[in-house]
Symmetry: D2
Subunit: 317 residues, 4 copies
């Protein structure tokens, strides 16, 4: 029997102390669409996201992320992952279909890094209202309705105070492939870019011993099609008096980036385009040394190094 | 045991009556790099292609394509596909490692449409010469060295006079997923966009009863990162006195396109960017009707309809 | 004493039979801002326009343009032009300051082609409301607030059934320089691109004997900074179910274009970027022959030739 | 009689200690074309420059600039400027036609800031060789032949240790208009952006008391049409192992920038696009205070502040 498999990153569930500010940021400035609001939780997606939501936002005491959802390749995979994880001694919580609106039955568990992953297969695809619907049959909403208007969710970047190597192994068992990594002078991998898809990364995990709590979220990333969209985003953010880092181009992943923080929650969003896809089945992970680290982070442009804005992360509870 | 799987489109082997003109076009105007020339066959790749070649060019009596190469996911898959195909009564030719320079052992067979596919797993990755090498560890050649300079091979588009439905079934058995298709007024699918990757298509097959020979190749496509790169390509082609169709945006695949013919062989190249990726494991193929056909082909821009340049195809021998 | 001089194109006054549709088109789809509405006339400008308005829209029986306003270099020039024109036997109407809101004293007269030009010097520069104001001191409104969001008015294109040569001479006396022109096989100039600024044209005039009324307006043009903005405009128009011609690149002027008609009035707008500036004081006008006409109109891309949408013009009353 | 007038920036004459390196940089990396080489002086221009050259390069002991050439509006203006300047006690040197290849009779004089300006009117427009010639009648060379391939010379930026205010007055008498300026806390203007054209600046002059010699050149700027061209330039420079500052967007002028130094001479080139044009005859210069200085220099992106590369200037002899 084939192993259960993860198909893709699904969504991130964000809690914000300032719901109004966060909704303004994500809906008007970033330009996500709201699928639905249920019990105070707002479910958002980009115009090119094909499913129920890629970000949920609700009010809470502090800015943090509850869990990161991943869609499996098959319906049966949810149960099979549950069995595999429990056999490995991992505690798994089960959620019946619909406990999260739009999502079928799901399991949640913690990575060794302290982050909670959710796995699910079934997901609703509510149609947009008629006036919001794209004229294209293969696209959800009309593009460019408001704000920056990225196409789709791309990846999530997480930090841990624990030994990241243990979590890389855990993620490999879940089916994630290491694509690029940073090795420190002791020979340990302290940052890894991993994917189940043909993107360079669906998740990046970095080891940061000095964080104020064990598991943090650095950012989620939304993808735009063109470099010019990222420059236009810089104009839009500036006109909204919102600070950001970038634009710059990563060496690792080769993508053009711009980092901006949700003023409501402190959650960072990376606006992202370019980069390469990995179709080779025997991809050899690309190693970057500490000497190459700055170049790997910023090939050119506004550097992510030594920027205060880059050192703030929110908790993964 | 898991089924054998195809990982990706590998290359196309082109024969041209005017080798000099074709090499000038692909090397200087398109801007591909030459990995090596062996026995009169020139092996080319784009700066972001990770392997030995994505296009080979050699001299012959007429412009045609010999075969389309696909890389399997595992080394064992080549033999397993051979067994499966022979069990199905398909004639399979075997090529020992190295018969095609840079490629390991391979099999070739004909689709019902008349096109020859090659499957292989092992492939060499020769390093570029030092002065051509990218400063990025995850990139093969320096970008933008000459001409249009696309990043990588994207897909192949083929035509047949036979019943395309038979070949869609054949391709599904090889692991290709139907992503979008055009259904005619009789209910038959007469154009299908299929992929083994998360691209909307690695191969598109259209049924064209009026072609002068049964199996034709409409184009191969090279990918650029930005829309502006396609507009710059239009300038470059114009300055080289080479006609083209485009730029325009497909409804199907949502990609920006520009079609241009190699003056040496008559082989069409699509310069291509944008579009969407498919991460959903239960993707429902998008159906386009004959009424929607023109819109599906050209969402906006210079239409591919009724253009003489669009009706010429070269033979797949 | 120095001759009076025209500094720049100021505005176009549009009358529309469907005010609601025209305002929706110009404000929400094109993305112009409304400076003010007075007595049913809506005064609009782009985010980078520095003055009171560049387009006025009011309701009337048919789609037409009342006059085309031009700003002089000096306050005294308005009176001097009046004197010069009257000395030449041209009938000149005088308008006291404020008759057109935001505009100082002005004169209006007809070109031999039948189009009405207005000359004025004084103009108000009302500040945007605080929340609309750009964070940049050298920019009027926040960029990218809605719709296509071009930067500024660029030029106007007019058609006549009369002998265009007479009007070219008239425009030269007003200070317009011929920059490029189309000469027909009889040796007559039948289309001319003329400017008082360093743009290739502030006004283009073409001779079209078959028009239904003597003086017509083909389009006004708004400028965007980047080619990608024009491609994004094509997406936005498509999502609004509004047809257009383009994108394409003119040979004449070298600019990227997209033509779209206001659904309310039938008035055409060209979305425009690229091209060249003329700093040479002894610029030799570039001649295009009838054989080169198609190439001059469309260097590449979606051709303006033989498009129904391109043959509709509105009357200049 | 009308005052003599300057029409446009013409060229900069660069001396480099490493001619080979400078020629490689300007011809292969920047992508300028060589009009001609005479007596060891190489005359270069961009594909959209309409005249003989916009940069000359010759070998010398140190990297420096000899003079900055400006074209007058009329032939008679050269002599009239000579008379005016001599009447004001300025020493003027006269050069007969052809002393600088391609240039007619010319005068040279020093600004109070110590920089040498040349004024000329006549200039040759040699045609490119047939294979280099653009297919467009209104363009000099084929675009995109090699390297970054900007369209045209844009402006020059100069520094002085003297009281800049004296030179601003001098430049105003030559016909330059102040467009934007930086006022220090003492009320003095210490940086000014001035133009004779409709560009925001043809020349910027900054007062920098700590420079090692009185008159320095900070950079010349070449214009590209699209923002994407500047991002592509960043890739090209990186692949050539050449460091740069940017990309970033100026508040002052609103232009996208990238600064790079010629490895041969230390002369800085700004790659530049976007920004606005000034058509208003009564433009009110935009004032920036010391508090707004950083924002004025860098609206967003890689900051020009505190970058070592930004503090090196070459001498204006």
């Amino acid at each position: 029997m084939a192993n259960p498999e993860i198909a893709k990153l699904g969504y991130v569930s964000l809690v914000t102390p300032d719901l109004e500010a966060s909704l303004h940021f994500f809906k008007e400035v970033i330009g996500l669409e709201e699928t639905v609001e249920i019990d105070g939780v707002h479910y958002l997606r980009a115009w090119g996201d094909f499913q129920h939501h890629t970000l949920s936002i609700e009010k809470g005491d502090s800015g943090h992320v509850k869990y990161i959802g991943w869609r499996t390749k098959n319906r049966k995979d949810v149960g099979e992952f549950r069995e595999l994880l429990e056999n490995d001694g991992v505690q798994v919580d089960y959620y019946a279909a619909g406990e999260t609106p739009g999502i079928g039955e799901a399991i949640r568990f913690r990575l060794p890094s302290g982050h909670t992953f959710e796995l699910y297969y079934d997901i609703e695809r509510p149609a947009p209202e008629e006036h919001q619907k794209s004229v294209l049959k293969n696209q959800t909403y009309k593009a460019w309705a408001k704000g920056i208007s990225p196409r789709r969710l791309d990846h999530v970047n997480i930090h841990t105070t624990t030994d990241a190597g243990i979590t890389y192994e855990f993620l490999k068992e879940l089916g994630f492939n290491m694509r690029e990594y940073l090795r420190d002078d002791n020979g340990d991998i302290i940052a890894g870019w991993m994917s189940v898809t043909q993107l360079v990364h669906d998740v990046a995990l970095a080891q940061k011993p000095s964080l104020p709590s064990p598991a943090r979220i650095h950012h989620i990333s939304y993808w735009s099609d063109d470099s010019q969209d990222i420059l236009r985003a810089a104009d839009i953010l500036s006109e909204n008096n919102i600070k950001f880092i970038g634009p710059g181009k990563h060496g690792i992943s080769q993508a053009l980036y711009l980092y901006v923080m949700d003023p409501g929650s402190g959650f960072r969003v990376e606006l992202f385009t370019g980069g390469y896809l990995i179709f080779e089945p025997d991809w050899e992970p690309v190693e970057w040394t500490m000497k190459e680290r700055v170049f790997g982070n910023t090939y050119w442009g506004d550097s992510v190094q030594d920027k205060e804005l880059n050192n703030i992360t929110i908790e993964a509870k």
